[in-house]
């Protein structure tokens, strides 16, 4: 076993800024040629789409969980709001899908603000259970056909495909690249925020909220902002999902979906984009590839979650390795 320092130096040599960039470019090159690597097989393109969709959802949750470090186990609610906004305004008003992208993001963001504002002062686990509660309320409201327009348990059908000029997105290949584009945009948003004043405030809150507050960081505002940004990205994912499936139902936005998003972010390593891709691969792609095992699949899946946390509690690809060695010195520190 290498000493922490040697480990760090080795990592720096391997994944220094340059190495990191090379890896990023390689990753996206593979992502672009992936459809042809799998011979345009629709099944594998579908898996590719799911990979990007869930990466996008995990990126949206990561803004909250990897930003100020708030426990949010109800992200599926914002996903649902985005998807239903797109579905309703498309089927009822006939608005085009791409126009509904900003609309869905805005609706989800407003929703995120309304939910987060009154509960933002709650401590970690209280916040967690309240987000679970809100997500359940949203799902049940949709299922009980609250406004008489959500279609109840059957959901909404006949959502249009996105159009760009004369060209309509229909095939799995089209949606593969569309989803990739959404993910790139979400990554860009996260990168911009991460290295800004906002990102630094989030990091401060994550590490020590009391200290952040005592030097004048408006913690409530920054925490709410994280919820709003995260919600709007989940709203974008909802827009993408609705138009891909053309049919949506409340059961696609259950607690289970929130758990998967949560597990991806923690399993990959909070705040780390490569971690999110690895986490999505482990949580979404692997189970789909092992569909043959059927009923035992979920059993193995749960056991693997436990095993991963025992073997690598800091995540598969943590944002900053050095953190791990500093961690034991400061008791607590995260999301109280």
């Amino acid at each position: 076993m290498m000493t922490p320092k040697a480990d760090q130096t080795a990592r720096d040599a391997l994944f220094g800024k340059l190495g990191h960039n090379v890896l990023t470019i390689l990753f996206f090159l593979v992502a672009i040629i992936y459809p042809w690597l799998v011979g345009l097989n629709p099944y594998y393109l579908e898996i590719g789409f799911n990979f990007w969709l869930w990466s996008l959802l995990a990126l949206s949750l990561n803004v909250v969980l990897g930003g100020p470090g708030l426990y949010n186990l109800g992200q599926a609610a914002f996903f649902a709001v985005g998807a239903y906004t797109t579905a309703l305004m498309n089927t009822l008003l006939g608005w085009p899908i791409f126009l509904l992208l900003p609309v869905s993001m805005l609706t989800a963001a407003i929703f995120g603000y309304i939910i987060a504002r009154p509960i933002i002062h709650l401590r970690g686990d209280y916040l967690l259970i309240v987000t679970v509660g809100f997500a359940e309320i949203v799902r049940l409201a949709l299922r009980n056909n609250m406004f008489g327009i959500t279609g109840g348990a059957n959901g909404i059908l006949g959502i249009a495909r996105p159009q760009l000029g004369p060209w309509t997105f229909t095939s799995n290949l089209d949606f593969y690249f569309l989803s990739l584009l959404y993910v790139l945009l979400a990554m860009w948003v996260w990168r911009q925020l991460e290295h800004s004043r906002v990102g630094r405030a989030w990091a401060y809150i994550r590490e020590d909220e009391l200290a952040a507050e005592s030097v004048g960081v408006n913690t409530a505002a920054y925490k709410t902002l994280a919820f709003v940004v995260g919600a709007s990205l989940a709203g974008a994912a909802g827009n993408l999902y609705a138009t891909k499936m053309t049919v949506i139902a409340p059961e696609s936005f259950s607690f289970w979906d929130s758990v998967v998003m949560f597990a991806i972010v923690i399993l990959g390593g909070r705040g780390s984009i490569p971690g999110i891709f690895l986490g999505t691969f482990a949580m979404v792609v692997l189970p789909q590839l092992f569909r043959g095992l059927e009923s035992y699949r979920m059993l193995v899946f749960g056991a693997a979650m436990v095993a991963m946390m025992i073997i690598r509690p800091q995540g598969l690809w943590p944002k900053d390795m050095r953190f791990r060695w500093r961690r034991p010195l400061t008791e607590g520190g995260e999301g109280r």
Binding site: Y71, Y126, G133, I137, L299, A303, M305, I310
Partner: protein
């Protein structure tokens, strides 16, 4: 008036079951600061094992039903406690030093394993619980009907809750439990065996949860493998309502939620029953962010 009385009684019955489950959450949270998501599924394991044990006891062993019931409750408490201790040892202790999020994901993983384990063993469809083990007779008290099952649930759960309260408040072990909830490191320095006490928490909580599982089976006569999730979430809501880490809080919260829920189901609509617990939770947290009976443990941090 009679309808209110009946709804109150039904609410107290289901509320005392919520309280029993919530005790498991609140005790684990008190000592580990962990939301034990697997607890609800341990409760479901109790219900399913209970149905099998009762069927076996009645048909194979041919014992009188009251003896079968008592033996079942003891057996279930024992088995679910063993399962709880195993889970703590395998899935929680190794991640204890890594902070709270890995433990949370680990707990979610255990929950998935248990839920799917139940599904593989007993099947995915709802299962009839042998609830006929207790006599069908109902007493009529001023127009309010009380069944044997309700009476049994109320008496047993109150007995268990009072014993637990006395144990935690009056015995040396109870004092040690309270000590590790406040400050584990200091407690350890005072010669308290922290791991042993955590194991004790994972004996008491799951045992109570398992018994609650049998009670739900007896009361509703039907069980399904996802019940751990819905009851678990409600019980956790109860724990937060009362102030998490606070044992009397869990009892008060359970009874309160049970009553509110059954009144709402009776007067508003059954469709929204599931939502009511969350709305109550959110409203109470807005007014009292630490729950009804407050929370001394986390306040100091």
């Amino acid at each position: 008036m009679i309808m209110i009385g009946q709804q109150l009684l039904n609410g107290l019955t289901i509320g005392s079951i919520y309280a029993l489950i919530a005790l498991g959450y609140t005790m684990v949270y008190g000592v580990l600061k962990l939301i034990n998501f697997a607890h609800g599924d341990l409760f479901a394991v109790g219900a399913f094992l209970g149905s099998s044990v009762i069927l076996f006891g009645l048909s194979q062993a041919g014992l009188p039903s009251l003896i079968v019931l008592v033996l079942t409750l003891l057996l279930i408490a024992f088995f679910v406690a063993v399962l709880g201790v195993m889970i703590e040892r395998i899935a929680y202790r190794p991640v204890r030093s890594a902070g709270r999020l890995p433990a949370l994901v680990s707990a979610l993983g255990v929950s998935i394993v248990l839920q799917n384990g139940i599904m593989l063993i007993w099947g995915a469809r709802p299962r009839a619980f042998p609830s006929h083990i207790l006599p069908e007779y109902k007493w009529n008290v001023f127009g309010i009907l009380i069944s044997w099952t309700q009476l049994g649930i109320l008496l047993l759960s109150f007995l268990l809750m009072i014993s637990l309260y006395v144990f935690v408040q009056k015995t040396r072990t109870g004092a040690a439990l309270r000590a590790i909830a406040v400050d584990q490191q200091t407690a350890q320095l005072m010669g308290i065996h922290v791991n042993k006490l955590i194991r004790l928490v994972f004996i008491i909580g799951p045992a109570l949860g398992g018994i609650a599982g049998v009670m739900v089976g007896l009361y509703y006569g039907q069980i399904i493998f996802t019940m751990g999730w819905s009851y678990g979430l409600k019980a956790f809501t109860v724990a937060i309502l009362g102030g998490i880490g606070n044992i009397p809080g869990a009892m008060v919260g359970g009874l309160l939620l049970g009553v509110i829920e059954s009144l709402a189901a009776g007067y508003i609509s059954g469709n929204w029953k599931e939502v009511i617990s969350f709305i109550v939770l959110i409203l109470i947290l807005l007014v009292r962010p630490t729950g009804l009976l407050g929370e001394r443990v986390a306040e100091k941090i």
